[in-house]
Symmetry: C2
Subunit: 564 residues, 2 copies
């Protein structure tokens, strides 16, 4: 009887992509077996255009709060913001949970935690090849390559089988730091048997192989060639491998290097300190020193490759940078592709730089940027090494996951063994008739938590909807003072508007609006209406109709009644 009971109580293995904006499982994933829960990555996303006024987006951690007694650790795949950037929010809530990652990832995480004044955390540095035991889950770290050094894939050995998660990866046979993906480990896990593979789908729509990061060196050298003036190179602050290549090429061409942009300075400092970025002595100069050197001995490394309005290069393009003025003869190299959604702001930045007389190199065809993510042939190779029973495509929009799934089908996997889901979808594995089978499990709370200024989650859909309406047609405020004893209007209606129309040039409309309000008030008085709610809604309706008729606009109308 007890054996039967034990079998019935057989724990399930659950995998839940829990966070990612548009991209599934990008920022956070949960691996749970019975009462042991490991969190994989803890990152943030940058808001979409329709999330007005929002600064950052982090995963909804409700599921973690509900299961906080089970959380054994956070394991980090690499040091990019979308994988470590929510740690300060997580650790404020779960300060006891230990965090594990490679040296560079932990170095960068520590920097960000300090900035956010989150202290007394327990960050642990691991090496690729290490294994850690968290209850019934054994976690191992596998060396991979990406656009930042020290990236790892992870495996999770559980009583029901092994899960492999690639993290963000590409197969780079000549990475800048010389550390290639650990093919043997993937293959060895495949030999032992892998229950499910979770793999990066970012480039699943792109055929072929992603080029090696180190191919960028020569393309950059070519872009440096013949430049008579200063060179400004914009890339992701976090792309440490790219920065290394820019530094190497600058040294080759006898240029000193100045770094611009808070995030770029931070990453460079931490990477140098930890030995991941190698810069010869005396090569880096302060931004205030650049005018001491001839223009053709200067490289300025800067942020703003995405046209982000507040980043270094964007400010320069608008002539708003405190320290650097673009001058005729400057050469600007965009060593990054626009992330979808940023195309237009990148275009505007390029146009503005050209207008100031700079020479701009930005084409992808110039080879000055390569992706950090695996394309189709690389995905096939990983599938072939790992030979999983199930595939859970992750990291990418829904259509990329679908594409990854189709690729796996072509590769030979049964369609029913490919799980495509959303954030919050549990993928459950359990033993049935001696075999471990996967199935869709319950959907748990997941979603986006908005960070706006100091507020975490205090801006929700109602506030966003108001911001949306305000952004389109502004606000129109009507103030009335009523006498408490008589219920009569004794002052007003006065009107104030913002974002609706330029009032000084719209005197007639405002005069008419005042009449419309007065008529609505008169009607209420005639009917002896005294409930504020009714008066307000009469004013709002009359005014709304009038304004729409005259302008075809729908500002938010706010009638305010004061009583004396």
């Amino acid at each position: 009887m007890e054996v039967v009971f034990f079998l019935r109580k057989q724990n399930k293995l659950a995998i839940i992509p829990l966070g990612g904006l548009g991209e599934i499982g990008k920022n956070m994933t949960v691996i749970r077996y019975g009462s042991d829960l490991v969190v994989l990555d803890c990152g943030l996303a940058f808001p979409d255009d329709d999330m007005l006024g929002i600064d950052l987006v982090i995963p909804d951690m409700t599921y973690l709060v509900e299961n906080q007694d089970k959380i054994r650790s956070v394991v980090i795949t690499h040091g990019h913001e979308d994988h470590i950037g929510a740690l300060s929010y997580f650790l404020r809530q779960f300060p006891e949970v230990p965090v594990y990652g490679t040296r560079l990832a932990m170095g960068l995480a520590e920097g960000r935690l300090k900035e956010n004044r989150v202290e007394k955390t327990s960050l642990h540095v691991i090496e690729p090849g290490d294994e850690l035991v968290f209850g019934k889950i054994r976690v191992g770290f596998i060396q991979t390559s990406h656009s930042i050094p020290d990236a790892v894939a992870l495996y999770f050995k559980t009583p029901l089988g092994t899960i492999v998660h690639t993290g963000d990866f590409k197969i780079d046979y000549s990475p800048v730091d010389g550390k290639t993906l650990d093919f043997n480990k993937f293959s060895q896990l495949g030999d032992e048997g892998v229950l499910a593979l979770m793999a990066d789908s970012t480039n699943a729509e792109s055929p072929g192989f992603t080029k090696s990061e180190s191919t960028v060196t020569e393309a950059l050298a070519k872009a440096f060639d013949g430049a008579q003036g200063r060179i400004l190179l914009a890339t992701f602050a976090s792309n440490v491998s790219r920065i290394q290549q820019a530094v190497d090429v600058a040294c080759r061409y006898g240029r000193k290097i100045a770094i611009v942009g808070r995030s770029m300075v931070n990453v460079v400092n931490i990477s140098m300190e930890l030995g991941y970025l190698k810069v010869p002595e005396g090569k880096i100069i302060d931004i205030d020193e650049i005018n001491r050197y001839p223009a053709n001995q200067i490289l300025i490394l800067t942020t703003g490759s995405q046209g982000e309005p507040m980043a270094g290069l964007s400010r320069m393009s608008r002539r708003e940078h405190r320290k650097i003025q673009i001058q005729v003869g400057d050469r600007v190299i965009f060593s990054a592709s626009p992330i979808p959604g940023n195309e237009k702001s990148v275009s505007k930045t390029i146009d503005a730089l050209l207008r100031l007389g700079a020479d701009v190199i930005h084409e992808r065809s110039a080879g000055i940027h390569v992706s950090g993510h695996a394309r189709q042939e690389e995905l096939r190779l990983i599938l072939s090494l790992v030979r999983p029973k199930y595939l859970i495509p992750v990291h990418g929009e829904y259509r990329m996951l679908m594409c990854h799934g189709k690729l796996a089908e072509e590769w030979g996997m049964a369609k029913e063994n490919i799980f495509i889901g959303e954030n919050g979808q549990t993928f459950e594995f359990s033993r049935e008739e001696g075999e471990v089978k996967g199935a869709l499990g319950p959907v748990v709370t997941s979603g986006k938590v908005f960070i706006d200024g100091l507020g975490v989650g205090d801006v929700g859909n109602i506030v966003l909807r108001d911001r949306q309406m305000l952004s389109q047609d502004g606000v129109f405020i009507v103030v009335i003072v009523m006498e408490k004893s008589t219920g009569k209007v004794i002052a007003g209606p006065d009107m104030v508007s913002r974002g609706f129309i330029y009032v000084r040039e719209s005197g007639k409309l405002m005069d008419e609006a005042k009449k419309v309000i007065q008529q609505a008030l008169d009607k209420c008085e005639a009917k002896e209406v005294t409930e504020w709610a009714v008066i307000k809604s009469s004013v709002r309706d009359a005014l709304s109709k009038f304004i729409y008729g005259k302008t075809h606009r729908r500002p938010i109308i706010l009638p305010i009644i004061q009583e004396v």
Copy 2:
């Protein structure tokens, strides 16, 4: 003496790109010789993301108002909105000015004018090959190819020389309507001598040739192949050639055609009426009839290829379309590339359709879309046919114009004969020492006029800046009632906010804010301040500081004082 005087009074020839959002000269160009002025195109643009609440953008017509006695005509290159869409605004201001264009362009223009209730206009249909005389300017129309039938290039013969303007064009050796570009006319003008060429730079960054529009037919057929369910095809409503191909393929596959989307229905009706779109009898069915046919006998032609939130396909993807529900097995074909800036909304639409179980074909590699604009080899060919003395690259962002300029230099044109400018920049030609020379002339008023609802130009930078601020952090209103006789506060402060914070969950913050306001008021009272402006600014400053300290947000703060 009189001869000298006449020579001194020699008229200048001026070319002014006058309208275009980001793209120079896209929506409107002015050609002026002495007191004769011809307007080339009269189009509108769709607002950028930062033009909050704006519906449309038209060119600033101040220059035309200042020179209205000189305006002889408007000549139209083709029937796309960015070339005819501002006619209703133009003709309200200048109702007497005649408009000339090809039959389809005039048909589409007439439709739009009727919608906008602009009547009594004088639209004239011309044929390619026609020449018209407007004072000292002789205007000719040259057949070209683009993504809409009946597109023309223009030449302007003036006493100082001939100007050629390509309009939007590509070189299509097998256009859908069989009408190829009139190579001979370009060449003949070149033989006679062309002073300046204005040429489409949209694809100046792309090497090679743009493929023929007719190559899309077979790609579409391939996309139709094997579809078991309905097919939905999204493209630009104005791409009449594409619609023709979709119709042809639908007929081949025995599918009836339903049209969805107001603009698509309009263009299809006008094009069929004028004979530019040929559809066999009985092939087009009403949207309400689609359920009478098996799914595999249906093609739905729809708008929404750019992910525009209110367009047909986007509504369907959100399950918000009144008539059409996406069902498993539907195949959706995006026969259009995302215009820069629309990538993300297109992605979202695709993801949403996939989630509903549709099959989506969208890759450019599938050949289901080709551009309507000339690439580098085509630009070289036109240069070689026309052999102009000067080149003014137009239609495109600044960097595309630069690229076009470089191409012309490589082709053999002297750098000083290539004019790259902005909207409002006059390019002036005059005779000097017997030779006609070009130079930069004065900059005239140009710019964007915003259409918001019924308002034309009543939303300016102040209103937009307010909308921007409102969109980020909302509005916070403080109302106070003061007694006139004593200057004392007798009611309030009351607070109302929108888009700032969810007030019901922020009771404590609001209570504290009230105290802060009260303190500011008390201070004013203690100092016996009675000027409203001073009181308001005290309240605003104190509240702003408090709110920023607590939330790091900056809502617009509006103190309102009522006096009784």
